[in-house]
């Protein structure tokens, strides 16, 4: 239960932030960072715990976003229902892509390539299909009422995305402590060995992909409610696929808090770079993301969480060593 306590403490601490009279700019920064964290939490379930590295998580983000936007804008569906269906659509895409690829036994390089290709196909389709608004994109009508899942203040949006992140944190913690989570890690470490011991590797990976798709789609649904607009580049562009895998890798792959920590760090660095470059500097933030990705894998393969736990161990060790000397 201690782990669930840690999740609760982090969430409560973060929930207080809007009450501290922070500026709208800061709040906006945190909202976007939490949204990226949510997308990364989705990636982490499949990639971090399951070892299946997807290079196309934009497929889920974009599908969630488009379903939420199109249902509201074209069919007048209530925002709450559209939001739920958007998440369901993400899970469905996860089931389809996962079912097809895992059944064909695609792993490693091939899996990364197929997921990337699926995201690209969806991007091209969305940029020509009339239902998505083709090149123009889809606008959701401004209607600032909780009934249509839009809020007057930034603080309320902040709590909404924080609640979604909290749910994802609890889900991840549940997975980590469950039998399913153990199977998933076993598949990551050695799929053939896990299968030989009776783990249904195909089913385990498929379920992980469905959960992963649903969580990342939720980030896309939130994107639409917050910005009220989506087009094919925003929905299915490579930037989202990159950020979704970057945040858990920087924070710590296969750890509960990794994506959250990673998202805050990544976003802060991206913003900092834009500030230093002053005004318009297209691509500079992504140059920095790419460098961090390479450096983290190079020097801290377990991410910031790994670094933190190593630091803690060293402190504990030196403390007990000192005690032993004096005692």
């Amino acid at each position: 239960m201690k782990e669930f306590g840690a999740v609760a403490i982090v969430i409560i601490a973060m929930a207080v932030v809007p009450l501290l009279a922070v500026s709208n700019v800061t709040l906006n920064f945190l909202i976007v960072a939490l949204m990226i964290a949510l997308a990364g939490q989705g990636w982490n379930v499949l990639g971090g715990y399951g070892g299946q590295y997807s290079f196309g998580h934009a497929a889920f983000f974009g599908t969630g976003a488009y379903v939420t936007a199109v249902l509201q804008a074209r069919y007048g569906v209530n925002a709450w229902i559209a939001f739920g269906l958007g998440i369901a659509a993400g899970a469905l895409i996860g089931a389809i892509v996962g079912g097809l690829t895992f059944r064909s036994g695609l792993r490693g390089s091939y899996f990364a390539l197929v997921t990337l290709a699926f995201a690209e196909v969806l991007r091209i389709l969305a940029s020509v299909a009339p239902i998505t608004g083709a090149g123009v994109g889809t606008l959701v009508k401004l209607d600032l009422r909780p009934a249509s899942l839009q809020f007057q203040s930034r603080a309320e949006f902040y709590w909404m995305i924080l609640a979604l992140v909290a749910i994802a944190l609890f889900v991840t913690q549940l997975i980590e402590r469950s039998r399913f989570g153990v199977w998933l890690v076993a598949v990551r470490e050695n799929e053939d060995a896990a299968a030989a011991l009776g783990v249904n590797a195909m089913a385990v990976k498929l379920i992980a992909m469905i959960i992963s798709g649903a969580i990342t789609a939720a980030a896309g649904c939130f994107y639409v409610q917050y910005f009220l607009f989506i087009d094919s580049g925003l929905a299915y562009g490579t930037w989202m696929s990159i950020e979704a895998l970057l945040t858990p890798i920087i924070g710590g792959v296969g750890t509960v808090f990794g994506p959250l920590l990673g998202a805050l760090v990544v976003r802060a660095l991206g913003q900092g770079a834009q500030l230093i470059a002053g005004g318009e500097a297209p691509g500079l933030d992504l140059v920095i993301y790419g460098c961090i990705l390479v450096l983290i894998i190079w020097f801290a393969p377990r991410g910031l969480m790994g670094g933190l736990s190593r630091l803690r161990n060293r402190l504990l060790f030196s403390a007990s060593a000192a005690e032993a000397r004096h005692g």
Partner: protein
């Protein structure tokens, strides 16, 4: 409605384009065959090489076909250094890490180009770009004809190198059995880097062949590499012959499908073919079962 003349012209054009696709795919398949990973930085390196060829012509006045002789060794060096001093040490011998590092490099290269040159599209005009040979049923533009011939020369040279030199033998040994090759005294890290360098040199040559008839912008390489992925998957990962035939086939398919379906749907056709091949026969048409 469509005269045979238009159809033949489309097929010939497809073959000419397909040859350059094949060269890009050759670099990709070579790296996969030896390192067993997909190099996601391939497209970004192609874009970088296209910029290099562009500036070589614009600033230094070097003809792109002559620039091959300078850029191929230069990019061999870049590829060698990237694998030896960045990708290799950074990935700690783990395939998943290697994928991520090449992805990271792709993001860095592409966006550094975007930052430096903005999203502007650039072209060069060679004085002889419009010359060509008229076969009666089809017109062969000179630049693309040179490209076609060059690809076959390069492929032949590569094949000779692989089968007749010590380095080629070492590369094949590492591809087949890494540990055994290491025990036999082959420096695996060096061979990995040589292979990566060769793959990058292929991309540099392709860039020089492309620049006279295409444009360059920070995204230019991506379109070609997605096609190259398809070719490599179609031809079988690691198969040189597969890459060559696959390239020609895809060139013709693309040319015909954009004739019948229009540009953007033609692109989707290639992707769908790609996904279908991956799902049905991931080892490709010529590759051995993985």
């Amino acid at each position: 409605m469509l005269s045979p003349a238009i159809l033949t012209a489309a097929v010939v054009n497809g073959l000419l384009t397909g040859a350059v696709y094949a060269l890009i795919a050759l670099g990709l398949t070579l790296v996969y065959g030896v390192l067993h990973i997909i190099n996601f930085a391939h497209g970004a390196l192609l874009t970088a090489a296209m910029f290099a060829a562009y500036f070589a012509y614009r600033v230094l006045g070097i003809d792109p076909y002559f620039a091959v002789l300078l850029l191929a060794p230069a990019f061999f060096g870049i590829g060698y250094a990237l694998q030896r001093f960045v990708i290799g040490p950074a990935s700690h011998g783990d395939d998943r890490n290697m994928l991520l590092v090449t992805l990271g490099l792709a993001v860095v290269i592409e966006n550094a180009l975007l930052f430096a040159f903005r999203a502007d599209t650039r072209t060069i005009n060679l004085p002889y770009a419009l010359n060509g040979i008229d076969l009666g049923f089809a017109f062969l533009p000179l630049p693309r004809l040179i490209g076609f011939v060059t690809v076959f020369v390069v492929t032949l040279a590569l094949w000779l190198m692989m089968s007749a030199t010590d380095t080629g033998r070492a590369i094949r040994a590492v591809a087949k059995e890494k540990l055994g090759a290491e025990l036999a005294g082959i420096d695996v890290a060096h061979i990995y880097a040589v292979t990566f360098g060769l793959g990058t040199a292929c991309v540099a040559i392709a860039a020089c062949l492309l620049i006279p008839s295409y444009y360059v912008n920070p995204n230019a390489g991506n379109a070609f590499v997605l096609v190259a992925f398809t070719i490599v998957v179609l031809g079988g990962m690691g198969s040189v012959l597969g890459a060559l035939i696959g390239g020609l086939v895809i060139g013709v398919v693309e040319s015909l499908s954009s004739l019948f379906l229009g540009e953007s749907l033609g692109q989707i056709g290639i992707f769908l073919l790609f996904i279908a091949v991956l799902l049905v026969r991931p080892s490709g048409l010529f590759g051995a079962r993985a």
